[in-house]
Symmetry: C2
Subunit: 418 residues, 2 copies
């Protein structure tokens, strides 16, 4: 049987960990941070590390600084001497003036998370997960995913020299499995109820000393906080009215909301933006519960959407996202595949090519403006979660144009036609 | 016929442009920068803007600064009031200690250019090209490419609101054309000798007021300089021994070499690293000439390599790269497809998944170490030019592994097998 080293033999390190509390997002029960913990042992709801209220930005040259150094005050539980990075974060925030004008809102910004090491936001949470796993003495990490998270964990596990387990469903396509396999993890196609695998993997991890960095585990939430921190800096601490997050398991939206909350607690911003949870109507368990004014999500029976990256029929942080929206004053919304494709094309025409899930926020803005929820004087930030190259099959669903011409007629052809 | 606005009506602006010289890299003939110029009107060799020797880094917060602001001293010919960006540059430099150790060199760094807005280094040169085109009053830009450059120009042209022409060869595959078409340029499949199209496009551009941002035009070279600037900062101005650049047309390697040269002229670094031009043996016109001690490249008749992104049989800056290597003290080398695939897998196992062309530098290091050219005490930087997702067909050329298991047997399976 595989053993793990206990590297937390330093008394000071243990004291730091004990001074940071982690509690259940639902019942509030406190847990210990010096173990690999993922969900409340009482009510099985997600856990959250306490809010940082005395942090400062460690200003330095970003070309020689990692996000973990810049925001180190917000990660007292990470070992400063054993940081790990592949260069995640510090992604651009692009203002789209023309698009804002044509939609009829006062400001539109895209946080381009496709410019991460594995071309999605997942890398932030994966880095924190790896650092936490190393701190706890694990030599094995794992995840349950067929998409962005799988490639991220496979890449970071490989780079960190850890034995890396990726559980995918048995019917995964070649297009999806190959980019994961390239990083050479222990890649296991699992036959059976893939929906159960999230919870099963946490048990399997305990039995086999594998630290699972699944979608909404506390350390992944901690990683996503940096998206909010960066947005604050990029907007010179002048907050937008809304931040729209494509939402699947719920880890990313939780991290982003927590990041803004912490910066407010620290006095770095005056107010937090309202968070909008954006889903695809073909799989919108959080929106459904929000719409029905329910406190708990129910499983979507036959999920079907082009936005595969957010096609989670039973999001493990679904209930917590509902609680989060209530406290934050945000809302949930959902859009059709047709609206998603339209938004994907609109974004590409402004230079940013996201995967379908990444186009959900823009689709949501258009819908919310048409419905009158957005009045026109709002500033909105969209989270562009992953690269369009992640799901090239979506390109063929668009009306794409090209012309043909012989070389020696090309100049005349242009004169006549354009 | 399409007219272009002449926006350079400001006398001061014109004076700045006249004070910056541009000259032929071969015969030295001076040209005027206040026109769209691409090659020497005397000898048809590439042009180069004069070296900056009095620049300083404009240190600021990179989260709110563009590379064009940070290095503005090095771009006196760009209009400071009309900058354009999609968030290119500021890409990570990742040290790979384990890989350096196993190869037997003292330092190995990967400049990860896959973390650009269209996931390749091309975006830097495209941004400068767009700014130059706008400065000169052009409303139309274009390029000749079926790969990284095409998507980059299509994306940036769309974002800049310019009419954008992309010429591709008639037999381009769906996989290649779709990501370009998503940005909605005027996409024209050209029948005829695609090899001639580079030079033809410059004529067509003149006739139709289209500013062509082709592979090695002066402004593209100027864009690539920033790769060198960032490496200097990221290594705290302690230069590596070698920088290895996968080389096709020659624009990128020229820009990187010029960037180091300028920082040395400005006293920001003490010495410049030696530049290694790395090609694929299936299409290595520059290496062939270098190997034969020739001053001029000859066309490769039947190019064939997995590294499509650098498969240029007659690189327009080929002769200048030969001159550059002579002055710099660098060398040219070439590797087989088999060596490229091996390097691609090795890089992925360290967390960075490049397209085959991006794995050429690592393949070159391994070969140069085996041949004894590298002694073991060298520090080397590799330029990882584009994302592995750009050419997913290469994944299937690897031995990829996965296992299968039923959910209820998964824990036991892991105990027994790992």
């Amino acid at each position: 049987m595989h053993k793990r080293n206990n590297t937390i033999n330093d008394r000071k390190e243990r004291e730091i960990l004990r001074s940071v509390s982690i509690h259940c997002t639902s019942c509030g029960k406190a847990h210990k941070l010096d173990e690999a913990i993922f969900r409340c042992d009482l009510c099985n709801e997600p856990l959250e590390i306490e809010e940082i209220s005395n942090g400062r930005i460690n200003k330095g040259n970003i070309l020689t600084q990692t996000i973990w150094e810049r925001y180190e005050d917000f990660y007292p539980f990470l070992d400063k001497n054993n940081r790990f990075t592949l260069g995640e974060g510090f992604t651009p925030l692009i203002e789209m003036k023309d698009l804002a004008y044509s939609i009829g809102i006062s400001g539109l910004y895209m946080k381009n998370e496709t410019q991460n090491p594995t071309w999605s936001f997942k890398d932030r949470g994966t880095a924190v997960g790896i650092m936490d796993a190393k701190r706890l003495g694990y030599k094995r990490i794992g995840t349950v995913s067929t998409g962005n998270m799988a490639t991220s964990v496979a890449a970071y596990g490989a780079a960190a020299g850890m034995e890396t387990f990726v559980f995918v469903s048995k019917d995964i396509s070649e297009e999806k499995i190959n980019p994961i396999a390239m990083y050479n993890p222990h890649l296991i196609k699992v036959e059976g109820n893939y929906g159960e695998l999230y919870f099963e993997s946490l048990k399997i991890g305990k039995e086999n000393n594998i630290y699972f960095i699944n979608s909404d585990v506390p350390m992944r939430v901690e990683g996503s906080k940096t998206i909010a921190y960066e947005i604050c800096e990029q907007l010179n601490f002048q907050m937008p009215d809304y931040v729209i997050v494509p939402t699947s398991a719920g880890g990313n939206i939780r991290g982003i909301e927590k990041g803004f909350r912490e910066f407010k607690s620290c006095g770095l911003i005056d107010n937090v933006p309202k968070i909008i949870c954006a889903q695809s109507l073909g799989c919108s368990p959080i929106y459904n519960a929000y719409y029905n004014n329910s406190d708990a999500i129910t499983r979507v029976e036959k999920p079907h959407t082009i936005a595969h990256a957010i096609e989670n029929p039973y999001p493990p942080s679904g209930n917590q996202v509902l609680r989060l929206l209530k406290n934050n004053g945000g809302i949930a919304t959902a859009v059709t595949d047709e609206e998603i494709l339209k938004a994907q094309a609109l974004m590409a025409k402004e230079g940013i090519l996201g995967q379908p899930a990444s186009s959900v926020p823009l689709a949501a803005i258009i819908k919310l403006k048409e419905e009158g929820f957005l009045k026109g004087n709002e500033k909105v930030v969209c989270i562009v979660t992953g690269s369009g190259l992640k799901y090239t099959a979506s390109f063929a669903m668009h009306q794409l144009y090209s012309a043909e011409c012989e070389l020696n007629e090309l100049s005349d052809y242009i004169k006549e036609n354009y």
